[in-house]
Subunit: 209 residues, 2 copies
DNA sequence: GGCGAAACGGAACCCGGTTCCATAAGTCGT
DNA sequence: ACGACTTATGGAACCGGGTTCCGTTTCGCC
């Protein structure tokens, strides 16, 4: 099953070079089609764009989700690496978290339909889901933990939970300019904040008359 | 546009009584199937359950979304009516908003796949979308406005925006017990709170106490 | 150059929404 | 009560879109 599951990114060399070539052609074609038609583009379109048969796609990527994962693997990596970097470079852990989430939102909203694809439990999309979860959640958790440890946010929400929330909020952003996922994500993250000691500079809000 | 705009629920009297009867049978069957198989259940299943042909469904409900709307119309109404009631009975507008949102979340999470269906812009689901938007958004906006006027929340987010956010957060709740949309929605709504001017919230002061 | 293995292409299949139309059933005038 | 007309019904057929299958082609190695 997992010919692509090598520990390093270097998969074992495929014996035939047309295989390697085709795989690359496919990845390029898929990336191109994803940009123009979104992640939900028909497999046939990608095959056509790549100039290969449908069977070839399925040989390389057992399901569309695998193809999506492959195409975006690099960017997921980037996002993963950004976590610790932000933690090191930001004044507060909360800051780092905020910016990392922003990065993630950027990633999602710039790929048409990616967020939507992520929540399709149906189909064979568990691969996609799993890949994102596996790689991104630990980073998110780390940031969350750091902010919690610093007393900057309320605890009680896990990295997975937060990621899913953010991912969900990003669904449908591209088809509707009036929908601004970033604003909502900002709200969500703001909700995480723990007013240090709820000292209640409260002003107007929380006091019940 | 106008078909949904009837003052009363009474549509013009259907001439033939089998029509009325079948429509009701269909609604019942659909409701039953939705409960067991979720909102995304195949139209054929609903037809089978109702003991009618597929054509009959489409005669009554041009698209699946219309059927969904019809089935849930009553509960949407209930939600709509709850808005002003909460506003009247809650100590603060923010409280009312919080509880209304909670009601809405309840509604969404108890209907398998409804939230997901709501965001499918594809297909003929704009009817569904539109119905929810038309009826629920004004209520939400009202609550939001009241809370804003009372200086209890930051302004800058619209009713539509908030509803979409909440709806999105509720997607996928039913297939995954580890996902708790309510917690995230709570966070989101908490983020709405405006701590007058603590932290980096610079300037503006549109709160005017 | 020839041979076996691996890859390829794309027709075929499955599934689900939607359309269409011949047929059945209801309604109404007489 | 009956026939003509109107409207509703059932379900086969159609349209994508994902996925599978297999005869054919190509590759790599002797």
């Amino acid at each position: 099953m997992s010919d692509s599951r090598q520990g390093t990114e270097k998969a074992a060399a495929p014996q035939r070079k047309d295989v390697r070539r085709n795989k690359q052609i496919l990845l390029d074609a898929a990336a191109a089609v994803f940009v123009t038609s979104g992640v939900e583009a028909p497999v046939r379109d990608i095959a056509a764009r790549a100039g290969v048969g449908i069977g070839t796609i399925y040989r390389h990527f057992p399901t569309r989700a695998d193809l999506i994962v492959a195409v975006f693997r690099h960017q997921v990596e980037t996002c993963v690496e950004a976590g610790p970097a932000l933690l090191a470079s930001c004044p507060t852990a909360y800051d780092a978290l905020e910016r990392w989430i922003d990065l993630f939102v950027d990633f999602l909203v710039t790929k048409h339909g990616l967020a939507a694809a992520l929540q399709h439990d149906n189909a064979g999309f568990e691969t996609l889901h799993a890949h994102f979860i596996d790689h991104l959640v630990p980073v998110c958790t780390q940031l969350l933990d750091a902010a919690t440890a610093a007393g900057e946010i309320r605890s009680g929400i896990g990295g997975l939970q937060l990621m899913r929330g953010v991912g969900n909020l990003c669904v449908g952003a591209e088809n509707d300019p009036s929908y601004d996922p970033r604003a909502l994500v900002t709200l969500l993250v703001a909700g995480l904040r723990q007013p240090h000691r709820s000292g209640s500079e409260s002003g107007a809000a929380d006091g019940e008359p």
